[in-house]
Each structure stands twice: as structure tokens, then as C-alpha cells.
């Protein structure tokens, strides 16, 4: 960077020899000098131009390189933060919003860094050095030139006041446009099937037009900004010309010097416009940057409490093992001595059961290391409550202790809170009351959501274990009965899958999810209706696959396919966010109750001949 700046300074200085040399030609001409002298000055002009072009060009290239590297780090840091954001936060804001930040805002800042930074540096250098040059010609020229400054200062302040809010609303409008565009493009198949393309086109058009209108309002503001700068130009030029006029009359300077001063000032127009206009790019970049940094901050502050509330006593921040640059930089709350209710999520202090004595490791006492006895539970949930909105609890007073290696099925009607419970145990959501304790190592959650990541299939699996060898990946695929169809893909494990690539069925996608589970190899696994998407035919296969993938792990299985519940070690029945029943399949079917009813309907649909 220092080298880049030095090159820029040298290049700018080389460029600034031009006006005095031109002034020199004027003087030589009026004094009737020889051809040779004038050609010599011409050679000087050429040297100056080449020097400026080479040195400044080199400097700009270096500067852009530095800026681009910084930018790459910034966008990587941002994606890092975005992926660490609590899920509920992302869902509340809409994924399109996040996508817009990941794509548009990053691009806006990239643009600023790419062109604005080098241009701005050059413009500022040119302005500074030109003013110095004018002072060298005669200090009175500098004074005359500075007449323009108050007008310029006023203009920039006038502009900045108006541009800030306008740009903020522009970014919001562009984000909304992006959100609708993404939802529309993503849902194109559905839109076609239902023939609602017109509505969606209209929606996108309205959002796009809104963004365009705001952009044009920005342009109108900019042009008013330039009009004011023109006033400054005219005032300054008039002053410099008049100064030259009187100085030449008084024989204080030569006409060549006055010419050089006028040319200097005229040469200032462009850099000044560039520099001041970059206030503009800076505003755009700043509001984009705000949105990026906002995400990074959210992720930082979210990472800290997570480490406390879900951390197991003997390991500290077990739930947040990846302390990347984002999380590590915050330090703050997670470094507090004992966590205590105040450091936990809001509402925790009010929940009775969570404030149990230290022996039951409630509340989030991360700082007191407690060796757990051999038969200690693998998962302990106490007094757990959760709500998206305060008046609508999704879960309340959940107490659940799961022994290592135990397989617990959670059943209940849709909307009973099963998925939320799974997410809370997995640490994906944070409880609003009570606490969740899981052992050292990690919990992996497999949901009914099947997303296959775009790219080669093996890369998708390696998300779970980046260092996995081809043999390990193949072994995982074999374990989930997927190797046969994977080998039949055009390029086997290297086939591009996901959106834009080869489409796999829901069942196949879920097989991949189980293969990821095997590669991740966590002690505790949570399946949230992980076999649901495939339909019964696929479900049977997936249940077999799940059994293989879960062997040797503690498991919580959210299932409405009761075959899975029937073979579990214990069944927990949820209704309206509370546990209403638990026991083995035999115990629960032997007495009337919600599970017995469910089982009745289920087996009626499946008469065994």
C-alpha cells in the first residue's frame, strides 16, 4: 500500500509539470525564442505524460490489488458471519434479505473499492499538489483559488445530509427487489404450474420500478450537487483570472505564469468533481457496509450467549465449537466468569426450573467444571420453553433426560412443537426459558428439509467432514445404500448436483443427508421427520438407512411415521407444546391416551394380512 501511494504521488507530480511547461512555451513564444527551446519543452511534456501514465498506472494497479484483497476478506468474513446467525433471525428477516446482502451489497462495496479508492487517492493527490504548485507560482493565486472552497464545503454538507437517507431507502428497495426476484425465480416451476406468472411478474415489476424511481431521485440530487459545484468553479476561475490580470499588469508575474495558474486551476475541475462525487460512492458503500457489518455484529452477539446456554459443564462452549474470526473477535459476554442468568437469553432468569442448584448444571454454569458420572445423561433438557412471540408459547416446561445410546421418539400432531424441540436440543434455536445440555462433541440435526448443495456430490458430503478421503465418502455412501445410484450418475461422485446440476429425488437427497451424518460422526443425532419427504416407499428405505446411521449414537427422532416410534426405546408425546405422555410403545398402547389413538389410526391404515 505504501509503495502504491508513493507511486501515485510520483505519478501525480510528473503530471503536474504540464501547466508550468505550457506556461513556459507561452513565455518563450512571446519573447520569440528558438525552435529548439520549444521542442525541448515539448520533450519535457512527453516525459511528464509518460511518467504520469506509467507511475500512476502502476500505483493504481497496486492499490486496486490491495483493495480487492481486503474486500475479499470482508465478504468472506461476512458470509462466515451470515452462516453463524441464529436461524430464527434469518427467517424473520427473510432469506432474500440475506441473499441480497451477500450479493448486492458486496457488489456495491466491491465497485467502490475497485474504482473509487484509486480514483479518490489520485484526485486528492492532484488537488493537494496542484494547490501547492499554484502557491509556488505566486501565493496570491492560491488565495484566489481557495475562494471556491467555502462553496464546495457547503455543497458537500448539503448533499451528504440529503443523500444518506435516500441511499438507505434505495438499498432497502433493492433488497426487496432481490427478495422477490429470488423467490420468483426459485419458485418458477410452481408459478408455471399454477399459471400465476402474471402476478409474480407484476410483483417483480413493481419492486423493480420502485428501486428505479429511487435511483433516479438519487441522480436528480446528484445533478443539483454538480450545479452547485459549477458555481464554485466559476467563482474560483473568475478570481484566478482576475488575479492574473492584475498581477501581469503590475508586472509581478509573467504572462506565462498567469497562464500556468489558469491552466492549473482549470485542471483542478476534474479531480475536484471526482473527489466530491466519490462522497457519493462512499455513501452507497457505507450503507452497504453497514448492512454487512450489521450482520457480522449480530452473529457476534449471538455467538456469545449460545456458548453459555447450551454449553456442557465439562467442555465450555460445546455448542459453538467453531469460534471463527467473527465470534472470537467479540470476546465480551462469553468471557464473563460464570454466565449466570443475566448472561443467558432473555427470560431465562424468570423460569423457575432453570435456576436449579449447581449439581444439576442448570442455568448455564459453564465455569464450574463438573466431572459427570459414567451413567450421566447424554442430553438433559430442563424447564425448557420457547416462543417466537411472547403471547404464543410454542413449548413450555419441557423436562427430558436422555441416557447415552438411548433412542427417543417424539410424536404428536402437526404444530405440537416437535420440530421446535428438535431445533432447541440441536442448539439451532436458543431457548427463551430453561436450558438444554448436551455432552462434549457435537449434536447433528437432520431435518425434513432436503437441500442438496450445488456442486460435485462428493463436495456436498465433505461439508460434514472436509478432510474425508474418497474411501470414507464411498463408505458413507455404501452405508446409506446410495453408492449404487451414485455410481450410475454421469460422473459418479463428481457429478454436479443441486440447483443447476443433476436433480436427485427427495429420498436420494435424504440419503445424502444421512451420509453427511455418518461423516460428521456426532455422539448425539437428532432426526426431525428426516424420512418424511420421501413418501412411504422411500421412507422404508430411509428408516433402514437411519437405523444404520444412528447405530452407536444417542438419538432423538421426531416422527409421525409411527413405525419409527414403535421401535424406539422411549416415546415422548407432545401436545400443544407440552409433554403429555411418555413410555415405551408397549406401555403407551396398553392404556388409552393420545399415543394409543394415534397408533390406532396408523395401524388401521396399514392392515397386516
Amino acid at each position: 500500500m505504501t509503495v502504491a501511494l508513493a507511486l501515485l504521488v510520483a505519478g501525480t507530480v510528473a503530471g503536474l509539470v504540464t501547466p508550468p511547461l505550457l506556461g513556459r512555451i507561452v513565455d518563450l513564444a512571446s519573447s520569440g525564442a528558438s525552435t529548439g527551446a520549444i521542442v525541448l519543452i515539448g520533450a519535457g511534456l512527453v516525459a511528464g505524460a509518460l511518467g504520469e501514465a506509467i507511475l500512476a498506472g502502476w500505483g493504481v494497479a497496486l492499490l486496486a490489488q490491495g483493495a480487492e484483497s481486503m474486500l475479499a476478506s470482508l465478504r468472506e468474513r461476512f458470509v462466515d458471519s451470515a452462516l453463524r446467525l441464529p436461524l430464527e433471525q434469518v427467517e424473520r428477516a427473510g432469506a432474500g434479505d440475506l441473499t441480497s446482502r451477500v450479493t448486492n451489497d458486496v457488489a456495491a462495496i466491491a465497485e467502490a473499492a475497485r474504482s473509487a479508492l484509486p480514483e479518490f487517492s489520485r484526485a486528492m493527490l492532484t488537488i493537494g499538489l496542484t494547490l501547492a504548485g499554484m502557491a509556488v507560482l505566486d501565493w496570491r493565486f492560491l488565495i484566489a483559488a481557495l475562494i471556491a472552497v467555502p462553496v464546495q464545503v457547503y455543497t458537500v454538507r448539503w448533499y451528504a445530509r440529503r443523500a444518506g437517507p435516500l441511499y438507505a431507502s434505495q438499498r432497502v428497495a433493492v433488497a426487496a427487489q432481490q427478495h422477490h426476484l429470488l423467490a420468483t425465480i426459485d419458485g418458477a416451476r410452481t408459478i408455471r404450474a399454477f399459471r400465476i406468472a402474471d402476478e409474480h411478474r407484476a410483483r417483480v415489476a413493481a419492486k423493480s420500478q420502485e428501486a428505479v424511481d429511487l435511483l433516479l431521485r438519487g441522480v436528480a440530487l446528484q445533478t443539483r450537487f454538480y450545479a452547485r459545484l459549477h458555481v464554485a468553479e466559476f467563482a474560483g476561475l473568475t478570481a484566478v483570472l482576475s488575479t492574473g490580470f492584475f498581477l501581469v499588469r503590475a508586472d509581478a508575474v509573467s504572462i506565462g505564469t498567469a497562464t500556468a495558474a489558469a491552466l492549473y486551476f482549470h485542471g483542478l475541475f476534474n479531480p475536484i468533481n471526482v473527489a466530491l462525487a466519490l462522497v457519493d460512492d462512499a455513501q452507497v458503500a457505507a450503507s452497504g457496509l453497514n448492512r454487512l457489518v450489521g450482520v457480522a455484529d449480530l452473529a457476534d452477539s449471538a455467538a456469545a450467549p449460545q456458548a453459555i446456554s447450551a454449553g456442557a459443564p465439562q467442555t465450555g462452549p460445546a455448542a459453538a465449537p467453531q469460534t471463527g474470526p467473527a465470534a472470537a473477535s467479540s470476546g465480551g459476554p462469553s468471557a464473563e466468569p460464570s454466565g449466570g442468568p443475566s448472561a443467558g437469553p432473555p427470560g431465562e432468569g424468570a423460569a423457575g426450573p432453570s435456576v436449579v442448584p449447581a449439581s444439576s448444571s442448570g442455568g448455564g454454569a459453564t465455569a464450574i467444571p463438573q466431572p459427570l458420572p459414567a451413567a450421566s445423561p447424554a442430553v438433559r433438557v430442563s424447564g425448557l420453553g420457547f416462543s417466537y412471540r411472547e403471547d404464543r408459547p410454542v413449548l413450555s416446561d419441557i423436562d427430558l433426560t436422555i441416557a447415552p445410546g438411548e433412542r427417543v421418539a417424539v410424536v404428536g400432531s402437526t404444530g405440537a412443537g416437535k420440530t421446535t424441540l428438535a431445533k432447541l436440543i440441536a442448539g439451532v434455536h436458543q431457548p427463551t426459558a430453561g436450558s438444554v445440555h448436551v455432552p462434549a462433541g457435537e449434536v447433528v440435526l437432520i431435518t425434513q428439509e432436503v437441500h442438496v448443495f450445488a456442486g460435485p456430490l462428493a463436495d456436498d458430503l465433505r461439508l460434514a467432514r472436509p478432510a474425508a478421503t474418497d474411501d470414507e465418502v464411498r463408505a458413507a455412501l455404501t452405508a446409506v445404500d446410495a453408492l449404487t445410484w451414485v455410481d450410475q450418475l454421469p460422473e459418479g461422485m463428481s457429478t454436479e448436483v443441486g440447483s443447476g446440476g443433476h436433480t436427485v429425488t427427495a429420498a436420494q437427497a435424504q440419503q445424502l443427508a444421512f451420509a453427511r451424518l455418518i461423516l460428521a460422526d456426532p455422539p448425539v443425532a437428532i432426526l426431525d421427520e428426516a424420512t418424511a419427504e420421501a413418501g412411504s416407499a422411500g421412507a422404508r428405505l430411509l428408516e433402514r438407512v437411519a437405523a444404520t446411521a444412528l447405530s452407536g449414537r444417542t438419538a432423538v427422532i421426531v416422527a409421525h411415521r409411527l413405525t419409527q416410534a414403535a421401535t424406539a426405546d422411549r416415546i415422548v408425546v407432545l401436545d400443544a407444546g407440552r409433554i403429555v405422555e411418555q413410555g415405551t410403545h408397549q406401555e403407551l398402547t396398553a392404556r388409552p391416551g393420545p399415543y394409543a389413538t394415534l397408533w390406532q389410526v396408523w395401524s388401521d391404515q396399514r392392515p397386516q394380512p
Binding site: A72, A183, T223
Partner: protein
């Protein structure tokens, strides 16, 4: 491509060009006037100075207003053209015959519809200011000619080769900028894909691996950008050198002429000032060239999307309305018939075949061999939109769009309130409505079971003559599913319904069920019959 995108902005571009040229003419007059002022004022007195400063003021007023409205016109043309392109891309993606999404990430398509559209729109600005720069050169030349014939000719004859040269040098930049943009689009596509799979990433605790993957793409994008930035600054340096050389030649020539007495000092200053001013318009050619190059690269990507081969080409006929709803699928070894008004259950042992069947019926694509017919007419001969007005085939994965629940189910008011009510009750979506605090929702916040019920209600509310659904209740519990199955029949009475599913609850209400194994129908009968007599069926359905 660029031409057709900018054609509707003809007026704005013409106005912008006119005003921008007048602005540049004003800018050219300023250095000329500087020379005049020095000449006249040195010879004359304070009165002359005041007069010419007044002229300068008038020129400033003109150029300021010209610039103001030139900028507004050009930006309007640019933004409006980008908007139109955005809508054309959207329209192409949503086109009845599909095909634009093949081989493209949704994130990449969004980037085409936003970034690339904007870059093509920006060509309008480049064109306007490019033409204005040409105008500036011309005005400068005319002013120079009025000062001195040789100097004017020098500028007039020297500029065109210079422009051609810059243009030639700028060519290779185009390829660089294209690779750079591709890398950037890929990186942002990966980021968008990771965000789309955020739940999976979170569930796996694979944030770190995901970030590593993005970083890899981001780094290769960085390498491409740095490459392009270097090329661009080298290009700018060359343009700067060329224009500097040009200025030196003019200044020296002017100086020599002045020594010979052919020019006054003021005229020399004017010419030198003009030559220096001309560096501006000429470097404009630099960025105009770069913008044109970028615009062309973007236009190619947009054109590729717009010209993407249709997934289901051909077929303009309109199905007979009202359709009686007889279907026949004869594709490779599969031969399947659905009678008008029948509720048919289709069980496939191969889930991939089920998905394929639904897509063939909805004409998302056409079979490679064989055909699918509706009332005896091949689907491939029917216009997709008209076909879908009588036949609705929904994938297992259907998207819900944010908005109000009733708005989503009624398809923006197409279905009457009574139909919506009935559909919501039939699909048990009324329970979902009760659980929402206000009736608006964001698709992502619904649970899987809720999403499926809303989607099913929407399909039912569309009341198509033929409805094909694929595993619509996999995330719904047994009791609710049984309730939905019971109501489904009433809602679809007299209309053809194909249930591609392995759910016993749904199959139990079908008139007839066919079992497809090994790519062919191997059994047909009611659910109960098949349960009693077919081992494969039991294995597939009663698992």
C-alpha cells in the same frame, strides 16, 4: 441485444446526447475563453475583463443546466433499460415452456437479472457521453480552426486514429472483464446456495466447512479481479500516454506558430488550453470503451438466458374445454390409463419414477419416447399454459410465496371465497390459519406439515379438471392425514385426480390404485385388494 434493449429509450438517449454535447461544448469554450480573456484583458482594460468574465458566466450557466438534464436523461434511459431487461429475464424464466433454469443456479439468474441488466443499461450512459465526447472534440477542433488552421487540422486529423487505437487496445479487456464477472457471479451463486441451505448447514454444524467452500470461490474470483484490474490500469495508462503525447505535439506546434507571429499569446493559450481540455473527452473514450465491453459481455449472458432452449418446445393446440379428464401415459415400458373423473392412486417402487411421472403430466418436460395424452390428445401438441389451465400437476416440493394465507390459496383472488373455505377445510389448512397471529405468513416460518397443507389447499382451490399431486401429506401426522383423505374425495368429486403417493391413508380413498414396479404397471385394483393380494404393494405401502 444491446440495440433492442436501448431502442425504447431512443428519445431519452437522443435528448441526453443533445444536452451532453451542449455541456461538452460549454466545457470546451471555457479554456478558449481563458485565452481570450488573457488576450483582451492584457490589451484592454478592466471593462474588457468584466465583459469577458460575464461571457464566461453565461457559458457556465448553459453548461451547468445542460449537464443537469443530460445526466438525468441518460440515467433514466439506463435504469429504464435495465428494468426492462430485468423484466424480460423474469418473463423468460417464468415462461410457460421453461428451460431458462436448466444449468443455472437461481442465484446466478438473479445476478443476470440485476447486475448484468444494469451493465447493459449503463451502455446508454456510455453511448451518450461517448457521443458527447466526440462532439467536444469537434467543437474543440472548430474553435482551434478559428484560431489557427494548421492547429485545427492537426486535432481533426489526429483524433480519429487515436480513437481507433484506444478502441483496439481496449478489445482484449473485454475477455478479461467477462471472466472476472463470471467468477464474481459464481461466488455470489455459491453464497446464495449456502444461505438457501442454511438449515442443513446449521443442523450439521458445518458452518466452517461451508465458509471454507465460499472462501475458495471468493479467492478465485479475487484472482480474476486482480487480473482484470491490472489490465484495466495498463489500458488507462496507455490512453493517458497517448493523449499526453498528443497535447505535447499541439503545444509545440502552437509555440512555433506563435514565435513566427501566426498566433497571438492569447490564441496560443486558447489552443494549449483546448488541447489540454481534449484530454478529458479522449479519456472518456477509455471508460466508454470499457463500459461497452462490460455491457457486451453482460448482454451475451442475458441473451443466453433469453435464448435458452425451451424445455417443452412445440404444441400450440388448446385442449377441449371442458376436459373430460381421460389420461393415458405410454412412456417406454409404462402404460397407464386414467378414466375421466377417476381418483387414481399411483404407487411406484422407484421414487424417481414418481417424480418423473408428475413432471411429464404437468409438461415440465416431454418424454424422450412415447407420449402422454389428455382426452386422446398428446400433451406435446398442447400449449403448456392452456394445458395447465385444465391439468394441474404439482411437484412434491411446491413453493409457497409470502403474503396472506387466503391470498396464497385463492391464487390472488381467482378462487371464490367459498371455494377457498372448502379447500382450506379439506386440506386441514384452516387449523394453520388459526395458528397464525395475523393471516400473513412467510413461507419459511411454517412447519413442514403446515406448508404441505397450505400447498394442498391451494391445489384444491384451483379446481382443475385434472389434478395430479405427489405425496402431498408426508409431513402430516396420521390422524390429520386420515381427515384430509376423507375430505379429498368430496372436494374432487366428478373430476380426475391422480394421487402419486405411497400413503395408505390417501390410497384408501382412491377409486383404483395401480402399482408401478420396474417401470411398468404390475398390479391394479383397490387399495384393499392390493393390500390383500400383492406382496410388493404391501412392502411398498404398508412399511
Amino acid at each position: 441485444m444491446i440495440r433492442s434493449a436501448l431502442a425504447p429509450q431512443r428519445r431519452a438517449i437522443a435528448l441526453g446526447t443533445l444536452l451532453a454535447t451542449s455541456w461538452q461544448a460549454g466545457e470546451a469554450a471555457v479554456p478558449f475563453l481563458i485565452g481570450v480573456i488573457i488576450d483582451r484583458a492584457v490589451a484592454g482594460g478592466v471593462g474588457d475583463l468584466a465583459l469577458w468574465l460575464g461571457v464566461l458566466g453565461a457559458v457556465y450557466l448553459g453548461l451547468s443546466y445542460s449537464f443537469r438534464y443530460a445526466a438525468r436523461s441518460s440515467e433514466r434511459a439506463s435504469e429504464q433499460a435495465a428494468h426492462d431487461l430485468r423484466m424480460r429475464v423474469t418473463q423468460r424464466v417464468l415462461h410457460d415452456r421453461g428451460g431458462a433454469e436448466t444449468d443455472r443456479l437461481p442465484g446466478a439468474l438473479v445476478s443476470v437479472a440485476t447486475g448484468d441488466a444494469a451493465r447493459v443499461g449503463a451502455v446508454a450512459v456510455a453511448v451518450i457521453f461517448g457521443i458527447a465526447a466526440v462532439g467536444a472534440v469537434l467543437v474543440g477542433a472548430v474553435l482551434l480552426l478559428s484560431v489557427s488552421l494548421p492547429l485545427g487540422l492537426l486535432v481533426l486529423l489526429g483524433t480519429p486514429p487515436l480513437m481507433v487505437l484506444t478502441r483496439l487496445i481496449g478489445k482484449p479487456l473485454e475477455a478479461r472483464s467477462e471472466t472476472e464477472q463470471e467468477h464474481a457471479a459464481q461466488a455470489s451463486g455459491v453464497a446464495a446456495d449456502l444461505v438457501a441451505g442454511l438449515r442443513v448447514v446449521k443442523g450439521l454444524r458445518a458452518e466452517q466447512a461451508a465458509v471454507a467452500r465460499y472462501r475458495e470461490r471468493s479467492r478465485s474470483a479475487l484472482a480474476a479481479t486482480v487480473h482484470a484490474a491490472r489490465a484495466e490500469s495498463a489500458y488507462q495508462s496507455l490512453v493517458l500516454s497517448l493523449s499526453g503525447l498528443f497535447l505535447a505535439v499541439i503545444a509545440v506546434t502552437g509555440g512555433l506558430l506563435a514565435v513566427r507571429g501566426d498566433l497571438t499569446v492569447g490564441q496560443l493559450i486558447s489552443s494549449v488550453g483546448l488541447a489540454q481540455f481534449l484530454v478529458g473527452p479522449m479519456s472518456t473514450f477509455g471508460w466508454v470503451g470499457a463500459d461497452l465491453a462490460q455491457g457486451r459481455a453482460s448482454a451475451r449472458r442475458i441473451a443466453a438466458v433469453l435464448a435458452a432452449p425451451e424445455a417443452v418446445p412445440g404444441g400450440e393446440a388448446v385442449p377441449v374445454i371442458p376436459a373430460s379428464g381421460a389420461l393415458r401415459v405410454r412412456v417406454s415400458t409404462l402404460d397407464l390409463t386414467v378414466a375421466p373423473g377417476e381418483m387414481l392412486g399411483v404407487v411406484t417402487t422407484d421414487p424417481a419414477l414418481a417424480m418423473e411421472l408428475v413432471r411429464l403430466l404437468g409438461r415440465s418436460h416431454d418424454p424422450a419416447e412415447g407420449e402422454v395424452t389428455l382426452d386422446g390428445v398428446a400433451l406435446s401438441s398442447l400449449a403448456p399454459a392452456d394445458l395447465r389451465s385444465v391439468l394441474l400437476a404439482t411437484d412434491h416440493h411446491t413453493d409457497l410465496f409470502d403474503g396472506t394465507l387466503r391470498g396464497a390459496i385463492s391464487l390472488a383472488g381467482r378462487a371464490s371465497a367459498e371455494v377457498v373455505d372448502a379447500a382450506m377445510i379439506a386440506a386441514d389448512a384452516d387449523e394453520v390459519a388459526r395458528s397464525l397471529p395475523d393471516s400473513t405468513f412467510e413461507a419459511r416460518t411454517l412447519s413442514g406439515g403446515q406448508r404441505q397443507r397450505v400447498a394442498l389447499a391451494r391445489s384444491l382451490a384451483a379446481e382443475p379438471a385434472v389434478l395430479v399431486v405427489h405425496d402431498p401429506t408426508t409431513a402430516v401426522d396420521a390422524v390429520t392425514e386420515a381427515r384430509i383423505a376423507g375430505r379429498l374425495r368430496g372436494m374432487r368429486a366428478g373430476r380426475t385426480t391422480v394421487l402419486v403417493t405411497t400413503s395408505p391413508a390417501l390410497l384408501a380413498v382412491a377409486d383404483r390404485v395401480v402399482l408401478v414396479d420396474d417401470g411398468a404397471v404390475c398390479a391394479s385394483g383397490t387399495h384393499l385388494e392390493l393390500v390383500t393380494r400383492d406382496e410388493t404393494y404391501r412392502g411398498t405401502v404398508l412399511a
